[in-house]
């Protein structure tokens, strides 16, 4: 499955219809087809796709195309805005109680990530919002589920009500609530057993817990990889329990997460958080705009920009860019850039965020990352003089560096070759800049990440 972003596909369709200033039913037909395919590939529910594309069509027909946009861009904008509006909500926060503990209940299918998300939420509440958090281990069915939560509670540093597997989940929840009230906790999070939505016994049990503790929030865990049936799951849970929100897990993978749209569209339940990794720190508030891009297969540009900003303040970025453009780019700069790229996360993860980037296999990723590490070792065993004057390298210097870090001459040559290539690229970019054009693909702005040098061509 080649990674071709929706905007690429649409603009190639658009090429055939140049000069049309208005979106009409006819000229939109092919583009809407592509949008439909994109949404279905993202696992948006069939019926939701149908309604959604109809809405878009109605909104778009007869709209004058903004002077700066071509019709295909215009349509993408309409689709995108519509998605953001649908996904977003004014009600995306947890409602905290002032004078008593806030009770949160986590529900969902098996394997959707409830227990880990319980831990992550506890971490977020404790560390970011300075809340005193209590957990309750209510999954008495899955072998060792309580052990898991016990270990997580210890890692986060919060208390856990653990009554073992012999006590009913309702009783556990009641005891936990009592403790939360008596000992003045701010928040109680109850982990429950995952089961199929059609399992009446589970639904009854969840209802009993709900009746017993009267939670302020009931959050449904949805897996980003979920297929067409996700709406039915959400519908049942919502009808039975009246959900107050959802958490989408596994957004650190490459699933497009169309279920978020389906669920929001069909049930109105707002998505409140996204799970972005296995570590306890990996829970984010939900960003509708990013989710929209992701569902459309347009890459998560914002996340990339933000990540880059965290690591590189703007002034510094501009300084590096200028240095590169002026040709005064040396091995120190290359190394520094490489380190920044590494700090921002895995190369593969980063590349995925850039629209239009080719997909690379995990091996290629690992190879590229390994090469970056090699480069670092090699550059580190050069003298400062050599690093700022890479032109001085002759055989003997190369040999010395190679010996110094236990690499071969060929390895050292590879670093220097890469450096030359990058320098050439910089020069090229400079000429693009002077001529006022950007290189094809529009990735010029990413020149600062020159450290991707190790990326296989």
């Amino acid at each position: 499955m080649a990674f071709e972003s929706l905007s690429d596909k649409l603009s190639s369709i658009f090429k055939k219809m140049r000069g049309q200033a208005r979106l009409t039913e006819k000229n939109m037909e092919d583009m809407l087809k592509e949008i439909r395919v994109a949404l279905l590939e993202a696992d948006v529910n069939y019926k939701v796709v149908k309604e959604f594309t109809n809405n878009v069509k109605e909104k778009a027909i007869g709209q004058d195309v903004l002077s700066k946009l071509n019709p295909s861009q215009m349509l993408v904008k309409i689709v995108h805005d519509e998605l953001v509006e649908l996904l977003g909500s004014d009600d995306s926060e947890i409602h905290y109680q002032n004078n008593r503990p806030t009770v949160i209940m986590m529900v969902g299918l098996q394997g959707s990530g409830k227990t880990t998300s319980t831990g992550k939420l506890a971490y977020l509440l404790k560390n970011k919002l300075k809340k005193k958090v209590l957990l309750a281990a209510g999954d008495v069915y899955r072998p060792a589920a309580i052990d898991q939560l016990d270990q997580i509670a210890k890692q986060v540093g919060v208390d856990l009500v653990n009554l073992g597997t012999k006590v009913s989940p309702v009783e556990i929840s009641l005891k936990a609530k009592e403790k939360a009230f008596n000992e003045h906790y701010d928040v109680l999070i109850i982990d429950t057993a995952g089961r199929l939505q059609i399992d009446e016994q589970l639904m009854k049990e969840l209802n009993d817990i709900k009746d017993a503790v009267n939670p302020d929030e009931i959050l449904l865990l949805i897996d980003a990889m979920a297929g067409q049936d996700a709406v039915n799951v959400a519908n049942t849970f919502n009808q039975q329990l009246a959900l107050t929100g959802a958490i989408m897990s596994k957004l650190d993978g490459d699933a497009r997460g169309g279920a978020a749209l389906s669920i929001r569209h069909m049930t109105g339940v707002p998505i409140k958080f996204s799970g972005v990794g296995e570590k306890l720190t990996d829970l984010d508030i939900f960003h509708p705009d990013r989710m929209a891009d992701r569902i459309l297969g347009m890459g998560d540009v914002m996340t990339l920009v933000e990540k880059a900003q965290e690591e590189m303040d703007e002034k510094e970025a501009r300084r590096t860019a200028n240095k590169m453009m002026s040709g005064k780019f040396d091995l120190n700069d290359m190394l520094e850039n490489m380190r920044k790229v590494q700090k921002m996360g895995s190369l593969g993860g980063l590349l995925k965020l850039i629209p239009g980037m080719p997909k690379i296999s995990p091996e290629q990723q690992a190879a590229a990352e390994k090469e970056m590490r090699n480069f670092e070792v090699i550059i580190n065993s050069m003298t400062p003089y050599e690093r700022s004057n890479p032109d001085v390298f002759k055989f003997s210097r190369k040999q010395r560096v190679a010996n110094g870090c236990g690499k071969t001459l060929a390895d050292v040559n590879r670093v220097l070759k890469k450096y030359d290539q990058m320098k050439d690229m910089m020069k090229q970019m400079e000429s693009y800049r002077k001529s006022g054009r950007m290189p094809p693909g529009g990735l010029g702005g990413l020149g600062g990440f020159g450290g991707m040098g190790g990326f296989p061509q």
Binding site: L40, A145, D223, G227, Q228, D254, A366
Partner: protein, 323 residues
């Protein structure tokens, strides 16, 4: 129809024909087949609307837009060529096309192979929470019942509580388990476990691994390493590697299968949670694109809840009303 009946015969098992799938599986296929039935009673003759609805039924079972469009085009062509307008016949053609498409990708033996003097090593992989550990318990149960000496290896040293979870299963099953410390190198736990299985003359050793998203390069490399070190202890092992896929999985399932096939030698898929309302149609797309066959299906949380995959039943159950 010569080819189709030939293939069907080839796939049909002697004993299992009368055996019915458990209640759970019935649910998803009744769902599907009643939709189809409903569809064919509403139409006297097929037309564009009919095919649109067919497309909806297929896509809602997660086979994916490409698979759905291709198969419908094939059916459409045949219906035009041969002037077939009867909805029931059209459904029949649809099932046959899917059957041939699946079956012609190669022979399938569902059961694990066993050898004279070496244990069969089965490596179990998949993304987080799909049911790897539970499936391992189910498979162990199946082969213990067949009189095999089975051992488990808890090479998920990462997730909190994972080793305890598999240990609980081993105790329930009354079999040996090899474990390591939390955060120990999973490859070395796997190596030691397989070695022990060989020494103890086990017939089957099943290695549990931590759930991992296919986008995590380092974790995928770790899996490749686990596979490699097992091969060092027993030549040709792991002879089997199963990818576990959750029936609720959407289009990412194909991406998963590709990525795991890149680092291991995938020999089969077990599709879990088929006791729910999800249809698991992604397995058809996976077979279509990668050729990896489904070997077993999971139909519940207990160790008895595992069945051999039966294509005929799967498709017929999905698509054609039987009474």
């Amino acid at each position: 129809m010569g080819l189709i009946s030939f293939l069907k015969d080839k796939f049909k098992k002697k004993d299992a024909v009368t055996e019915t799938y458990s209640k759970g599986m019935e649910r998803s296929r009744k769902n599907f087949s009643s939709k189809l039935k409903n569809l064919s009673t509403r139409y006297k003759e097929v037309n564009q609307d009919y095919f649109d609805e067919l497309e909806e039924i297929l896509i809602e079972s997660d086979v994916g837009i490409n698979f759905a469009l291709n198969i419908i085009e094939e059916v459409l062509n045949k219906s035009e060529e041969e002037g077939i307008k009867d909805p029931e016949k059209i459904n029949e053609i649809l099932v046959d096309k899917m059957f041939v498409g699946y079956a012609s990708k190669g022979d399938i033996v569902n059961e694990l192979p066993f050898y004279e003097n070496t244990p069969t090593v089965l490596l179990v992989v998949g993304v987080n929470g799909v049911g790897k550990t539970t499936t391992i318990a189910k498979l162990a149960y199946r082969y213990i019942k067949q009189g095999k000496k089975v051992m488990l290896v808890a090479a998920d040293t990462f997730r909190a509580g994972a080793t305890e979870q598999l240990t609980v299963w081993a105790e329930r099953l009354g079999i040996d388990i090899a474990t390591g410390k939390q955060d120990a190198d999973p490859a070395s736990v796997a190596y030691d476990g397989v070695k022990k299985a060989k020494e103890n003359k086990c017939d089957l050793v099943i290695v549990d691994t931590a759930g991992r998203l296919q986008t995590k390069a380092n974790l995928m490399a770790e899996l490749a390493k686990i596979k490699r070190v097992i091969g060092k202890e027993i030549e040709g092992a792991p002879q089997e590697t199963f990818l576990i896929i959750d029936a609720t999985t959407g289009q990412n399932g194909v991406v998963q299968a590709k990525a795991f096939a890149d680092v291991t030698n995938l020999t089969g898929i077990v599709i879990t949670k088929m006791d729910g309302t999800s249809k698991g149609g992604i397995i058809l797309a996976i077979r279509d694109e990668l050729g990896v066959p489904v070997r077993f299906i999971g139909l519940g949380e207990k160790m008895e809840d595992l069945q051999e995959f039966d294509l005929d039943k799967y498709l017929y159950g999905l698509c054609v009303e039987e009474d």
